[in-house]
Symmetry: C2
């Protein structure tokens, strides 16, 4: 803590260090994004899904902007944001809370707050009116796939119960091999080699809901897309059964409990929740809030996945003959 608290304010950044670190980040971007067609597509999907919100910008930064970053930028960012009044300290492990708190007070607590901390200006999304597609053809792609994306409320922006219902919807629709999409597309019809769903709900502003699939054998991407749309429509039209909901709740809460076996994941959960405006109490109450989700709330959540207002990404091999 002495070390970390010291470098929260007294870091010496030389030109050499900046140049070296920038190269490390550029290399990281090359290996994680530029070398991975799915990641390139993911970035362009987000830039298309979010029309106004900065969530459209990749966290690591666009390549051409990264390449221009210099010591001045780094120091300005550091001086503006690295302050105890803009930090959450997460300690996971075999420690005594009272001791940790005492140490934190003596180290981080001794650093003055930054009174210049700028207000968070957060552009929101305009009304979504269109259906959008983003298609990446790349010779490294052997199996085509698609991702359907919707802007939906996050745990921070949602009315109580809505984010929890979206979490359970993702579990029922596409959480693992027991989910509707997997059972219908992969197991029963055999048209997909993969199908799933997840909800990106940990965010200060709106999050997103993602459904993905990949065809198998002679099946086309279009078939997968229609089959996914049909499964969503089935929940909108008929809802989910109490039994199915109960199983999903149990799976979801069990995963939550398993995740807590890992100190690193625990730290991650608390850190990301606190950083996005949540509280420790909310994390503790989460399992009960998941238990309280009704079948009608899940059906209501499925209504947000509108077929005509969606952003779909397609990852394809190069066109055969154009």
């Amino acid at each position: 803590m002495l070390l970390e608290a010291d470098r929260m304010r007294n870091l010496v950044l030389t030109e050499d260090m900046i140049a070296t670190e920038r190269d490390v980040v550029l290399e990281e971007r090359r290996s994680r994004v530029e070398n991975n067609p799915g990641a390139i597509l993911g970035e362009e999907i987000d830039a298309t899904l979010f029309q106004n919100h900065p969530y459209r910008v990749p966290v690591i930064g666009w390549m051409h902007e990264l390449a221009q970053l210099n010591r001045e930028d780094a120091v300005a960012f550091y001086e503006r944001y690295y302050a105890p009044n803009n930090a959450a300290l997460i300690v996971a492990g075999d420690v005594e809370p009272a001791e940790v708190l005492d140490m934190a007070r003596r180290t981080y607590g001794a650093i003055p707050a930054n009174p210049e901390l700028p207000p968070r200006i957060r552009p929101q999304e305009p009304e979504q009116n269109t259906r959008r597609t983003v298609t990446l053809r790349d010779q490294r792609v052997t199996v085509p796939s698609l991702r359907m994306n919707w802007v939906v409320p996050s745990y921070t922006t949602a009315e109580p119960g809505t984010a929890e219902a979206l979490d359970l919807l993702s579990e029922i629709l596409g959480g693992g091999t027991r989910s509707r999409l997997y059972q219908e597309l992969v197991v029963r019809r055999g048209i997909a080699q993969q199908a799933g769903a997840y909800y990106r709900g940990t965010a200060l502003d709106d999050g997103s809901f993602v459904v993905s699939g990949s065809p198998r054998g002679e099946a086309s991407l279009e078939e997968i897309e229609q089959a996914i749309a049909a499964e969503i429509r089935r929940i909108v039209d008929e809802g989910v059964s109490e039994q199915e909901l109960e199983r999903a709740r149990n799976r979801f809460i069990r995963n939550m409990i398993f995740a807590r076996d890992s100190q690193a994941t625990m730290a991650q959960i608390y850190g990301s929740t606190l950083a996005t405006g949540g509280s420790v109490e909310e994390i503790d109450a989460w399992p009960n809030r998941i238990r309280a989700v009704s079948a009608e709330a899940v059906r209501e959540a499925a209504r947000r996945l509108r077929p005509e207002i969606v952003t779909i990404g397609y990852l394809l091999p190069p066109a055969s003959d154009e």
Copy 2:
């Protein structure tokens, strides 16, 4: 000039005035955008075409942000940007230049420069890797249409000759009834009721090239799209003839000369050029630079309209039965 110079620095903005003006702007947005499906689509196309550059944001602003603007925002903007060192004065009409200059010096010239003028931070576009579509279905649409859009250099960012070639390409491809698209799609094949092209080249950063079309009778949007792509490919493959280029140059320069018959258009041309980093000399030299464009440069410009890296907007009536 006394009046205008006075309000460049000494404007009194009351809450009442701001509220009234904001309502005027909201109403303007309602009538020009919200009431016009083509305009709604246009905004979402730009937000999809530009992934990083602020050109993605509508000039008038998104509705939800307009609605929140207040006196404080207006005053901050006014104090930051309304200064003689951030203005171009355009006077068109029956005036004596020496007199105008003298008046300007006595009025605007007496206002101190704003030393706090912030630097222009201009995020650039990342590499374009994908083909994107934006589809708006709206019950006010009776005739479907499409717009294909590419990010291309502007007069400010292009190498010498490139923007001029893009201007002539737009003229040859889709400038009026003599253009290739009109002749092929509307006149010869009769599949389109409209087809055209234009180049948005007046910009500080990259501009865009737009090709549009609308089917006629039984023809489908897909046919129009393929026919447009074929006409672009024909220029890429075979180039344009000297005779066709000469006719396009003449039409283009003639339009330029006709435009100068209007004092307002003249002011507009000089104002927008100066505001986007150009000079009076560049405007005067423009006809000669258009005359210097070669057939090969037009062909090179057409290569920028890549079929796999494009953003296409579709304006459609509501789905009949989905």
